[in-house]
Amino acid sequence: MSGVAHERTVLEADSLSLRFGAIHALRSVSLRVDEGQIHAVIGPNGAGKSSLLNCLSGFYRPQAGSVRFCSKDISGLKPHRRAALGIGRTFQGIQTYSSMTARENILSGFHARMRTGFIGGLCYWGAVRHEEETFTAKAEAIIGFLELEEMRHAVVGDMPYGIRKRVDLGRALALEPKVLIMDEPMAGMSTEEKGDLARFILDIREGLKIPVVLVEHDMEVVMAISDRVTVVDFGEVIASGTPAEVSDNPRVIAAYLGGAKS
C-alpha cells in the first residue's frame, strides 16, 4: 500500500522502523489516511500502536521511514511544528490542563493560529482584544459542537473523566486540524459516554470533514464506525482493509485469540 500517493491522501507513514535498543517497536510499518476516512489502528497490547502515533505526531524519531502530510515530508519536524501544520491529537488518559477552564483549554489549542506575542499580552491593546474576541468566538463554536456549554467556565481539574476527555477533543479541534489522531478515546468510559463520543467522531468526519486516525481497543466501536482498519502485532502490520475484511482475516484472529499463525 505504500508509495501510491493518492491525491486524497492526507497523512501517510511509509515503512517506519523504530527500535529501542534491542526491541523493535515498529518494523517497516506503513499507514495511509485518506480524506473523509475514519481509520482505526488496532492490535493487542504492546503491538506498537502508540509508538506509531508518537512517530506521527513527532515524539519519536523513527530510525527508518518517513511521514508525509499533505504530500509534504514532515519527518524532521518537531511536534509543535506538526501541530501548526494541522495534525491534531488527543491523548490516552487525562492530559488536559487541569488548572484552566474548559474554554481556556480550548483557547490554548489556538496557540499556533494566534499571533499576539508577550508584549501584546502585557499591554492588551485593541488589536489583542480583537484577536481574543475572534478566537473566543471560534472556541465557543467548538464548545457548542461538543455540547460543553454548561462547563465552559468550570476548571477542568474538577470535572469528571468523560467531560475532560471531551475538553481534550475540543483542544485538538482548536488546532483546526486536517487530520485528527485519537489515542484510545473510549478507554474508561461508560456505555453512554462511548455512544456520545462515537457520535462526535462521526460528526467530525461528516460535518467538519476531518479524517480521524483512531487507536482503540473497543472492537464494537471500531467495527461500527471505522472505514478502514489496520491491524498491528509485534510492530508489524498484519492486516489492513475494511472492518469486515479484517475481522475475517485468520492472522488477525490468531493475534487476538492466540494459537498457530497461518
Binding site: H80, T96, S99, G121, L122
Partner: protein, 348 residues
C-alpha cells in the same frame, strides 16, 4: 462568582479583571487611599511603602516565571541586581529615567535568557540548582570586572531622577514614583493571565509534553517566561538604584531571592493578587515586629535576643499561613468572598 445581573455583550468583557461597579469602586477607594497616604504618613513609612512597591514589582516577575510557567527561579534578586547596576551605569551617562528603566529591564531580561537556555532543558530540583548558579555567579562577576565598570566591591553612585527642574530626592517623591510604576506593572501582570502568551505558560506548567503536541513551542515559552519575569525584575532593580542612590552587590543576595519566593508562595503563586497579598502581608509583618522590638529595646531588653525573636516570630507566622492556607492568601480571599456573596446559603 458574579452577582446576578452582570451581563457580558462581548467575550473580552468576560475576561475583564474588574467586572462589577462595586469592584471598580473599591479600586478607586484603594487608589485614593494610596495617593492620599503621604498626607498622614511620616517619611519613614513612605520609605517602607516605596520599598514594598519595588518588592512587589520583583515578585510580579516571579509570578510570571514560577507561578505561570512553573519554572523555579531562585535568582530573582540577581536579576533585580542586573537591572540596578544597568540603571546606575546608564544614569551615569546622563540618560533620563524613561530611557534608563526600559533599558535596565531589557538588560535583566537578556541576562536571564543566558541562564534560561540551559535551565529550560532541566526540571524541578535541577532547575532550582541552575538558577542558584545565576544567583551565585552574579556577585562574582560584578567583583571580577574592573572597578571602573561597575564599581566592584565599593559599588556605584546613581544619578537622581530629574523631571525638568525637579530632582527626585524626598521620600514622598519616591513614594509616588514607585507607586505609579507598580500600578503600571500590576496592569501588565493581570493582562498576561488572559493573553495567548499567558495561556501558553499555563499549558507548559500544567503539562509540557502535551503542550508541545498542541502547537506550543515549549522550550521557547520556558525561556520567554524567564525573560518576561526578569523584565519585571529589571524595573524593580532600576527603582532600587534610584531609591538607594547607590548600588552594591551586597544588596542583591540569595536571601532576598528566597524572600521573594516566600512572599509569592504565602500570597498564592497562581494569581497577581497572590503577589500583592504576599508582599503586603510579609512587609507589614516585618514592620510590626520591627516596631515591637524597638519599643521593647527602649524598655531595656537585649538587642540580640530581640533580633532572634523577631525572626522566629516572622518564620512562625509564615508557617501558620502556609499550614492553614497552602494555596496562598489569594485563594483564602477568593473563598471568603464567595462565602460572603452566597450568605446565608452555604458554599457548594
Amino acid at each position: 462568582m458574579l452577582p446576578t445581573g452582570v451581563q457580558s455583550l462581548k467575550y473580552t468583557q468576560e475576561s475583564a479583571v474588574l467586572r462589577t461597579t462595586r469592584s471598580r469602586a473599591w479600586l478607586v477607594v484603594l487608589a485614593c487611599a494610596l495617593v492620599g497616604y503621604p498626607a498622614v504618613a511620616g517619611p519613614y513609612m513612605l520609605g517602607v511603602f516605596s520599598h514594598m512597591f519595588i518588592t512587589l514589582m520583583a515578585v510580579y516577575g516571579l509570578y510570571v516565571t514560577v507561578g505561570m510557567a512553573g519554572q523555579i527561579n531562585v535568582a530573582q534578586s540577581a536579576f533585580v541586581g542586573v537591572g540596578a547596576f544597568a540603571a546606575a551605569k546608564l544614569s551615569g551617562y546622563g540618560l533620563p529615567f524613561f530611557i534608563v528603566i526600559p533599558l535596565a529591564a531589557l538588560m535583566a531580561g537578556l541576562t536571564s535568557i543566558l541562564f534560561a537556555l540551559p535551565a529550560a532543558r532541566v526540571k524541578g530540583f535541577y532547575l532550582a540548582l541552575t538558577t542558584l548558579a545565576a544567583q551565585v555567579v552574579f556577585p562574582i562577576i560584578i567583583l571580577a570586572l574592573p572597578m571602573e565598570w561597575l564599581g566592584g566591591l565599593v559599588g556605584m553612585p546613581v544619578e537622581p531622577i530629574r523631571f525638568g527642574t525637579l530632582t527626585l530626592g524626598a521620600p514622598i517623591h519616591f513614594y509616588y514614583f514607585t507607586l505609579a510604576l507598580a500600578a503600571l506593572l500590576t496592569v501588565a501582570a493581570f493582562n498576561l493571565g488572559r493573553s495567548r502568551f499567558g495561556r501558553a505558560m499555563l499549558a507548559v506548567r500544567d503539562n509540557d509534553v502535551v503542550a508541545e503536541v498542541m502547537g506550543v513551542p515549549v522550550f521557547r515559552i520556558k525561556v520567554m517566561s524567564f525573560f518576561v519575569g526578569s523584565l519585571f525584575a529589571g524595573v524593580a532593580g532600576a527603582c532600587t538604584a534610584y531609591f538607594l542612590q547607590f548600588v552594591t552587590v551586597s544588596s542583591f543576595t540569595l536571601f532576598a531571592s528566597v524572600w521573594y519566593l516566600g512572599m509569592l508562595i504565602v500570597g498564592g503563586a497562581h494569581s497577581p493578587l497572590g503577589a500583592i497579598l504576599g508582599v503586603v502581608f510579609i512587609t507589614l509583618l516585618q514592620e510590626t515586629l520591627h516596631d515591637v522590638a524597638n519599643t521593647l529595646m527602649q524598655s531595656g531588653a537585649s538587642g540580640g535576643l530581640l533580633f532572634a525573636l523577631t525572626s522566629i516570630v516572622l518564620g512562625g507566622c509564615i508557617l501558620i499561613a502556609l499550614i492553614f492556607e497552602p494555596r496562598g492568601l489569594a485563594h483564602r480571599w477568593a473563598v471568603l468572598r464567595t462565602t460572603f456573596q452566597l450568605w446565608p446559603f452555604p458554599r457548594n
